[in-house]
Symmetry: C2
Subunit: 108 residues, 2 copies
């Protein structure tokens, strides 16, 4: 469950900008600010049932985006390859390459 | 115009899987197989007006996805940083790092 939270939060970072604003806001309050459904309902003026529905729709959208586009999985593969380069550059004592690797990791 | 073609073809690679199948097929025939509107209409059994409409809708979808998600621009920044690493690894004569850089570039 906690793993799901981390994954959905990551998908929200990646794909959230393509979500309808209401769903994005509800997911953000739930997954990033850790509010309960009741708290989100109170904060947004949406009914609790509406909050639940926005959460479910938003999660389904994010999962569908990753299933069709796969940018989360791709980002993980790129990060893993970049981290390996950073370790190798450190091991070789090559400061220039270590700096370039750090810059690359910041872009991912 | 040719630059637009290359860009839309790249966006189609990135985001095409999230397009409705008909729009994706029409864009693919137009941008990757270089067919004319008349040829696409004949091949797919869609009217020429329908082909034009699917092209416009598909292009708008792809541009909107890039505007909100920015994966094309991000991919270019990552590729540029990875190419710089590959050049530095070559210049340092470090075969291990050159191999890791090639693997990274293949993931992007």
């Amino acid at each position: 469950m906690e793993k799901d939270r981390v994954r959905i939060s990551a998908l929200l970072d990646l794909y959230g900008a393509a979500l309808p604003a209401r769903q994005r806001d509800v997911l953000d309050l739930y997954y990033n600010d850790d509010l309960s459904l009741a708290e989100i309902a109170e904060d947004t003026g949406i009914t609790r049932q509406g909050v639940r529905s926005a959460l479910l729709k938003g999660e389904a959208f994010l999962s569908g985006m990753e299933e069709s586009l796969g940018f989360f999985a791709k980002g993980q593969r790129i990060r893993s390859a970049a981290e390996e380069i950073a370790r190798a550059a450190d091991a070789a004592g090559d400061e220039g390459l270590a700096r370039l690797s750090a810059r690359l990791l910041a872009e991912i």
